[in-house]
C-alpha cells in the first residue's frame, strides 16, 4: 500500500515536470525537413536572427516579414531571438555563420552607432556584412502634454534658443536616434536636456506625468498616444511629413532646421554571401515589401515600410555613418 502510493506520486511528479517542459517548448515551431531535391537556393530552412527579445516591435515586424518570406521562398524561415549588447551579440552570430544565404539577421541602424563609439571596441563594421534590403523607416517625432505651454514648434525653438538647457526631453535611451538628434540640435545652438529612460513606454509615462517637457518617440507611437488624447504631437524630425501624422509640421518647414532623426531596420547576411543567394533574397524582399497586405499590417503597428534594394541600402547606411561621425565627433 505504502509503496504503491509512493510510486504513484513519483509518476505524477514526473508527468507533471514533463508537462512543464513540453509547455515551455510549445512556442517554437519545428523546422520541417524537406528532401533536398535540387541544389538551387533555397533548399533548406533559413534562420532569421532577431537580435532583440521576442515580443518587441522590432521582433514583431521581423516576424511578419519572415512569414511572407517563407511563402515567397518556399522554405521555412525560423526566427531566432539572440539578444544582448544592444543587438551586437545577434549580429556577431550572424556575421560568423556560413555566408551561404541560410542565416540572415534583422539589422538596425544602431549597428553603426555601436561600432563607431570607440568605447565599445567593436570588431565589425558595415563592410563586414552583406546588406540585403531595408524594411522599416521609423521617423522620430516630438509630443507634449495637451496642457503644455508650447503651442507650436517655432515658439518652442525660439524659447530653447533664448533659454539654453531649460527644456527637458525624454528619450528611450542614451545614443538612440532621439538622443543623437538632441546633440545635433545643441551644435546648432539649441541646447535641451536629455532625460534617458529605459524605453519607449517609460519615456511616454514620464512625459505624461509632466516630469519632462517633451517626449521623443517614433511617429507611429506618437500617433497612438495622440489617438488616446494623452499627448499632443508637436513636430516631425524630418524634411517630409510623416504619413502617420499628416497634420504635424516638420522641423525643417517650420523652424528651418535640417536635423532629422529616424530608425532604420533592414535585413543583412554575412559578408561575401553567395551571390546567387543574395540575388534570390533581394528579389524576394522586393516582392514581399511591396505587398499591400504587408504594408497594411505594418502600418497597424505604427511602422512605415521603406524599401531600399541592396545597393541603395548600403549607400544610405554609409551616409548615416558619415553623419553620425560628424555629429558625435567619433
Amino acid at each position: 500500500m505504502e509503496t504503491t502510493a509512493k510510486k504513484m506520486l513519483c509518476m505524477l511528479l514526473g508527468s507533471f515536470l514533463l508537462g512543464i517542459v513540453l509547455t515551455g517548448c510549445g512556442g517554437q515551431a519545428p523546422a520541417a525537413k524537406k528532401p533536398a531535391a535540387e541544389s538551387n537556393y533555397p533548399n533548406k530552412p533559413i534562420t532569421l536572427i532577431v537580435p532583440y527579445s521576442a515580443g518587441g516591435s522590432s521582433d514583431v515586424g521581423a516576424r511578419l516579414a519572415a512569414k511572407r518570406l517563407e511563402k515567397e521562398l518556399g522554405q521555412p524561415v525560423v526566427v531566432e531571438n539572440v539578444t544582448g549588447a544592444a543587438g551586437w551579440i545577434g549580429w556577431t552570430k550572424m556575421a560568423k555563420s556560413k555566408p551561404d544565404g541560410y542565416t540572415l539577421s534583422l539589422l538596425n541602424m544602431t549597428f553603426i552607432t555601436s561600432y563607431l563609439n570607440p568605447e565599445n571596441k567593436r570588431d565589425m563594421n558595415l563592410d563586414s556584412l552583406t546588406l540585403l534590403a531595408n524594411h522599416v523607416w521609423d521617423v522620430t517625432a516630438w509630443a507634449v502634454r495637451p496642457d503644455s505651454p508650447y503651442k507650436n514648434i517655432k515658439e518652442l525653438m525660439e524659447y530653447v534658443k533664448a533659454n539654453p538647457g531649460k527644456v527637458t526631453v525624454a528619450t528611450s535611451g542614451v545614443y538612440t536616434q532621439h538622443h543623437i538628434a538632441l546633440i545635433a540640435l545643441e551644435k546648432l545652438g539649441y541646447k535641451m536636456r536629455a532625460v534617458h529612460t529605459t524605453g519607449v513606454s517609460e519615456a511616454l509615462t514620464t512625459a505624461m506625468g509632466g516630469h519632462v517637457d517633451i517626449v521623443s518617440m517614433g511617429a507611429g507611437d506618437i500617433r497612438n498616444a495622440a489617438k488616446e488624447g494623452t499627448m499632443r504631437p508637436l513636430v516631425v524630425l524630418d524634411k517630409q511629413r510623416s504619413k502617420f501624422l499628416p497634420d504635424v509640421p516638420t522641423l525643417f518647414e517650420s523652424a528651418g532646421l535640417d536635423v532629422n532623426a529616424f530608425a532604420l531596420r533592414g535585413f543583412a547576411s554575412p559578408g561575401n554571401t553567395d551571390p546567387a543567394a543574395v540575388k534570390r533574397l533581394e528579389a524576394a524582399f522586393k516582392k514581399i515589401l511591396a505587398d499591400p497586405e504587408h504594408i497594411a499590417e505594418m502600418e497597424k503597428m505604427g511602422l512605415e515600410i521603406h524599401y531600399m534594394d541592396s545597393k541603395d541600402y548600403k549607400a544610405f547606411m554609409k551616409d548615416v555613418e558619415t553623419n553620425l561621425k560628424k555629429t558625435m565627433g567619433w
Binding site: A5, K6, L9, C10, L13, G14, F16, L17, G19, I20, V21, T23, G24, C25, G26, G27, Q28, S53, A54, G55, G56, E80, N81, V82, T83, G84, A85, A86, W88, I89, T92, N117, E119, N120, K121, G165, T168, G173, V174, Y175, R193, A194, V195, H196, T197, T198, G199, S201, E202, L204, T205, T206, M208, G209, G210, H211, V212
Partner: protein, 501 residues
C-alpha cells in the same frame, strides 16, 4: 463600480482556454515548492520563468503568480507536520503548528492555516481591486524623483531581511547593489564591469542570478545535508476544523493578520517573513494568556499564516501600478512581465486591462483551488515530503539548466547560474542572507537610473528632491526610519551585548 465590469471580463480571460489549466499548474507547482523544504516561491517562480517563453503573457503571469501564492499555502504543511518550514514565510508556523501536531491536532493546524490563508488572500485581492485603480490613476504623479525616494524607503527597510547579523546583511545588500552596476551606464552609455564580455554589456541576467542564488544553492545544501536521510514519520491528519470555542479567537487573528499583511505588502524592501513575525508577536502580546504560545496556540498559526498570504496579494499593488517589486519573489514576477514585453507601471492597468484583470481573476480561482487542495487533499500533499531527494533534486536541476539556457539561447547564462549557485551555497554556509542580494540588485537599477534622471530634470540640484511633496515626504520617512533604527540599535547593543559573535 468600473472595476467589477473589468473583473467580470477578467474571469472570462482566466476561465478561457488553457488559462484555467495554467492556473492549476501554477498553484500545484507552488504547493510543491512550498511543501519541499528549501525550495521557496522565489526559486519556484525563477525556475519556471524561462519555460513560459512561448506562452501568452497573461497565461504566463497567471501561472507564475500561482506559484508565488501557492507556495504560501504549501509551506505550512511541512512546518506543522515535521517542524521544518517548507519556505521561509512558514518559519513562524513551526512555533505553534508543530506543538499542535504533537498533540494530535495537525489537522486543525492545517485547517485553520488554509482557511486563514484563503481569507487573507481574498481580503488582499479585494483591496487590490479597490485600491489598485486608484493608485494607478495617481501613479503618473510618480516621476523619477518619486521612484528614487520610494526605493530609498525600501532600502532603509531592508534591515528586516537581514537575518541574524546586520553586518552580513549589509554586505549582502551591497553585493546586490554592486551587481546592479554591471552593464551599461544609463546616463552616459559607458560599459562598466563587463571585462570585455559582450554578454555582460546588458548587465547580469536576472534569471540566472535568481535561479543560481536561490535555486541551485538550495539544491546543493539539500544534497549535502539530506540526500540520504530517512523520510520523517508523518502524523495523521484529521479533524481539520477548529473546535467551536476556537473559532472566535482564530477569526480575529485571521483578520488582524490580513491587515498586517496588506499594509506591509505595499512597502518595497520587505518580504513575506516580516508580516508573519509581526503578526505572531502581536497575537502573543494581546493574548490573555501569552504562555500558551509556543505550546500549540491556534492564533499563533492562524495569524501568521494569514499575514503571509495577505502580503502576497497586496504586494501586487505596487508591482501593477508602479512597477516596483516589494520582495524578492515579486522581483522575479517583474522579470516575467518584462520578458513578456509588458511594462508594469502607471499605464499597465489602462493599456492592458484584460491582462491585469485576467491575472487578478485567476487569483480568485487559484485561491479557491488551493483551499480545496489544502482541506480535503492535505494528506496527499503531505506524502510529498516522502519523495526521496535522490529523485527530486536531479530533476529540478535539469529544468533549471534548460531554463537558464532558454532565456537568451546562451550557454553563458547557464555558466553564470552555476557560478551564482556556488556563490549562493558558500554565502548560505557563511550565513549571509540571500534575499537582500536579489532585492538590491533589482532596486539598485531603479535607484541609479531614477537618480540620474531626477538630477537631469533638476539640473543637478539635489535639493530638488525636497521641493516635490511626494518625494520629500518619502525621503523624510526614510530618514526617520534610519534614525530610529540607529537609536534603537545603539540601545539594544547594551542589552544584548556581543550578540554579533
Amino acid at each position: 463600480m468600473e472595476s467589477f465590469g473589468y473583473l467580470l471580463h477578467g474571469f472570462e480571460t482566466a476561465c478561457s482556454g488553457w488559462n484555467l489549466l495554467y492556473s492549476l499548474i501554477g498553484v500545484s507547482f507552488g504547493m510543491f515548492v512550498g511543501v519541499l523544504p528549501g525550495l521557496g516561491p522565489t526559486a519556484g517562480t525563477a525556475l519556471l520563468l524561462p519555460l513560459t517563453f512561448g506562452m501568452q503573457p497573461v497565461s504566463a503571469v497567471i501561472m507564475l503568480s500561482g506559484i508565488y501564492y501557492g507556495a504560501m499555502y504549501g509551506g505550512t504543511i511541512t512546518s506543522v507536520l515535521i517542524n521544518v518550514p517548507g519556505e521561509s514565510a512558514s518559519l513562524i508556523t513551526c512555533l505553534d503548528g508543530y506543538p499542535m501536531a504533537r498533540q494530535g491536532r495537525a489537522g486543525t493546524a492545517l485547517g485553520v492555516a488554509a482557511i486563514g490563508s484563503f481569507i487573507g488572500g481574498m481580503i488582499a485581492l479585494a483591496i487590490l481591486i479597490l485600491v489598485g485603480p486608484l493608485v494607478a490613476s495617481q501613479a503618473l504623479k510618480f516621476g523619477p524623483p518619486e521612484y528614487f525616494a520610494l526605493v530609498v524607503v525600501g532600502l532603509s527597510l531592508l534591515i528586516g531581511l537581514m537575518g541574524k547579523s546586520l553586518v552580513r546583511g549589509l554586505i549582502a545588500a551591497l553585493f546586490g547593489l554592486t551587481l546592479a552596476f554591471v552593464g551599461m551606464d544609463p546616463l552616459t552609455g559607458s560599459i562598466r564591469f563587463a571585462f570585455g564580455q559582450e554578454t555582460l554589456e546588458d548587465g547580469i541576467e536576472f534569471v540566472s542570478l535568481a535561479m543560481g542564488l536561490f535555486g541551485l544553492s538550495e539544491i546543493f545544501m539539500t544534497a549535502e545535508e539530506n540526500l540520504n536521510t530517512q523520510a520523517a514519520e508523518i502524523p495523521k491528519i484529521q479533524n481539520m476544523m477548529p473546535r467551536r470555542e476556537e473559532w472566535g479567537p482564530s477569526l480575529k487573528a485571521i483578520l488582524r493578520g490580513s491587515g498586517i499583511g496588506v499594509l506591509l505588502g505595499l512597502v518595497p524592501g520587505t518580504n513575506s517573513v516580516i508580516p508573519t513575525i509581526l503578526s505572531y508577536s502581536i497575537e502573543k502580546k494581546i493574548a490573555d494568556d501569552p504562555s500558551r504560545f509556543g505550546k500549540g496556540a491556534i492564533e499563533g498559526v492562524a495569524g501568521p499564516e494569514t499575514a503571509n498570504n495577505a502580503y502576497a496579494g497586496a504586494a501586487l499593488i505596487p508591482l501593477f501600478t508602479l512597477g516596483i517589486p516589494s520582495s524578492p519573489s515579486i522581483a522575479v514576477l517583474l522579470g516575467a512581465f518584462i520578458m513578456h514585453g509588458l511594462t508594469p507601471g502607471p499605464t499597465l492597468m489602462q493599456r492592458n486591462p484584460e491582462f491585469v484583470w485576467g491575472v487578478i481573476a485567476s487569483m480568485f480561482i487559484g485561491n479557491a483551488i488551493l483551499l480545496v487542495m489544502n482541506l480535503p487533499m492535505a494528506n496527499m500533499w503531505a506524502q510529498l515530503t516522502r519523495v526521496p531527494f535522490k529523485i527530486m533534486l536531479p530533476n529540478i536541476m535539469i529544468i533549471m539548466i534548460l531554463g537558464a539556457y532558454s532565456i537568451n539561447n546562451s550557454l553563458f547564462d547557464v555558466g553564470m547560474m552555476l557560478v551564482f549557485g556556488i556563490l549562493g551555497y558558500f554565502m548560505k554556509k557563511a550565513q549571509f542572507p540571500l534575499g537582500p542580494v536579489l532585492l538590491t540588485f533589482v532596486l539598485g537599477k531603479i535607484l541609479e537610473s531614477s537618480l540620474m534622471k531626477s538630477l537631469t530634470i533638476f539640473n543637478g540640484n539635489f535639493l530638488g528632491f525636497f521641493q516635490r511633496p511626494i518625494s520629500a515626504t518619502l525621503l523624510i520617512i526614510a530618514i526617520t526610519i534610519i534614525a530610529v533604527s540607529i537609536y534603537f540599535g545603539s540601545k539594544d547593543k547594551g542589552i544584548e551585548g556581543d550578540s554579533e559573535i
